[in-house]
Amino acid sequence: MDMAQVHREAFREEAHELLTELESALLELEENPVDANLIGCAFRAMHTIKGSGAMFGFYEVAELTHEVETVFDQVRNGSTSVTKDLIDKTLKAGDLIRCLLSSNGAVDESERQQLISTFRQMAAPPEDKPVHVGSDNPAGALRESEEDEKLYRIRFRPSPDIFLTGTDPLLLLKELRDLGKCRIIAHLCDIPSLDSMDPERCYTYWDIILSTAKGINAIKDVFIFVEEDSEIHITIIDDSGNSIDKPIYKKLGEILVERGDLTTEDMEQVLQKKKLFGEILVESGLADPSKVEAALVEQQQIREAQQKRQMSAAAASIRVPSEKLDTLVNLVGELVTVQARLSQTAGLRNDTHLLQIAEEVERLTSELRDSTLNIRMMPIGSTFSKFKRLVRDLSQQLEKEVEMVTEGAGTELDKTVIERLNDPLVHIIRNSIDHGIESPETRQAAGKPRQGTVHLTAEHSGDSVILTIRDDGAGLDKNAIRAKAIEKKLILESAELSDRELFALIFAPGFSTAKKITGVSGRGVGMDVVKQSIEALRGTIDITSQKGEGTTITIKLPLTLAIIESLMVKIGDEYFVMPLSLVEECVELTSNDIERAHGRNLANVRGSMIPYIPLRQRFLLGDKDPAIQHVVVTEVAGERIGLLVDSVIGEHQTVIKSLGRMYRDVQGLSGATILGDGSVALILDVPQLVQWG
């Protein structure tokens, strides 16, 4: 048994004793309704049960006893009197509390509610301050919300009597130190002469410059018990949200004027003499040296904070316009192409000297390519923090409690990919919060924690990055999806679909199962657009879900958009490439095989029938099919579909060139690449081919 259990047990015993005392007091009160002792006894019993009950988690008990206590408090101070009805109802309340306390306490909740409202009515005038069963303690410790690092100026002038309330200002200063980097300057100018001072009064006051990310409330909490009697000013003097391009710090005089330690006129007068401002102030006695020092400290601390930010930004990176990078990547792309030609030519010439040079160039080119692409890589973390804000705002708007947990913020992706990921991710997260995560009440009723969680993870997997958005919400409703898909004529009523196929329907254009349109999501233009954007990035998207447990969306993305590993194939005299990541395997297809399929485009791959798209027909390439063709089996959206080609050439480093404006809308092609011999190969847009057949 853990300690909390031990305490709860101790409370149960105590409460039973108190209830017995209450009962006998009530019975005596019946005889003697004005006995102050008995009334006090009943009040205290209720008060203790309430206070300790809430401590040990008996909130229902606490809520009820609070109402009873309120009435007895009024009896105690004479504004209400003991009636038979009150005694009856209180006895009843006692019985109910006993039930609530017993471990298997089956209690009629409506009876409890009724008693609560009865006692509320008895309490006159009605006190509409309900008992909080939560906690709102000043010494929070639970307030851990991190904000941006900010710099605060705090002037703390405690009441002279502070020592007499048992408070040592030193401990408060220490608490401030625990919040962050802290400079403390004590002002001693108010300490009187030795014979006129009262050693038990506090004459010292402080200027504190504190740099913390804990927020202003954490600072206020430090002073919670002394704030009424002390002079406390807290000002934000620097915010890390400030632009680091233009460091701003105030002049010494401005700080002093702002603090009220110097008048503007005095400042201007001094400024006319040309000497160090601080020196003049001290010499002329216009400001106390400790105050000048405090202002100097502030100035220095702000400067440090800003310099630190600048330094860290400067040391970690240099800023380069992204167009310059794009140019570089393009040049490297061309170099890769030329290098391939060089290798090819050298191979043909069979000149060892040239071959050596070609190999050297190949090695250097690939290193250059890798590091150039690396420059474009950015950690995905910057987008993550944006999403945290989104989650916070959305959950507030929808009155849900949602926490976002992110993992793998350091995972790097091509800058363009990250930028273009933003909208799809926003949409997915919105959906999770709007449709996935249930309201706190619903969650609680389902035995889940009130607060829902959205996990956002990024991780490397080979040459791709896998993003996972997982929520612990209600999960997808298969029946609703099915019904909707039938209604939208996306599937036949008789269709038998696996879960995966069923969930994939969500990505069909115009599909939305939300019962009503909210301002957040559910306009039905969602997931199909998301899917398109991901595919435009040459990525794939997948969804799984467990009813009641949540939904997981997995996005797989290539590391970069500029150069891909691909498979090169040939049809007639034309070369084509497709992303290697989509290719599962290649199998031969003979004319005999085709005959056996009776004109249907199905290939038998180790017993399972896989549909294929004959690309020769698809692209109207004329010529006749060779005797032996090849089926490149791809996996798109969980389905295996083959592409029929003449022959498979092999793997190829493909530098992607976008198609000219005229060809941009051609279905089934996503770009082109230049081969080693200078000819052009088209890049197949496999998902689109599959979709359009």
Partner: protein, 121 residues
Amino acid sequence: MAHTLLIVDDSASMRQMVSFTLKDAGYEVISANNGKDALAKINNAKISMVITDLNMPEMDGIELIRQLRGLPGFKFTPIVMLTTESQDSKKMAGKQAGASGWIVKPFKPQQLLDTIKKFVK
């Protein structure tokens, strides 16, 4: 040397929970049922801090604070009261009697320890 804290509450379970939390954190604890009991149990002990409930039989918390402040050894001793939030007026009365701070019930053990750290080194 460990600090000795005085905890005064008429609820046995509260006393048990608070004592356990404090002892676990390395403090010495003297516990008392009510104000009168507390005054009787002090016995010249050097008390570093007092934590007292307000509503108690015999002598309530406010009166205890008032009397403690009158004792020579308690002029500067931190005294923290345990209140329930419906007792805002009590909070004020307690401060006037000389209380240093308050903790609102219900609280978590860590909140109790955090509050103590405001007053005891």
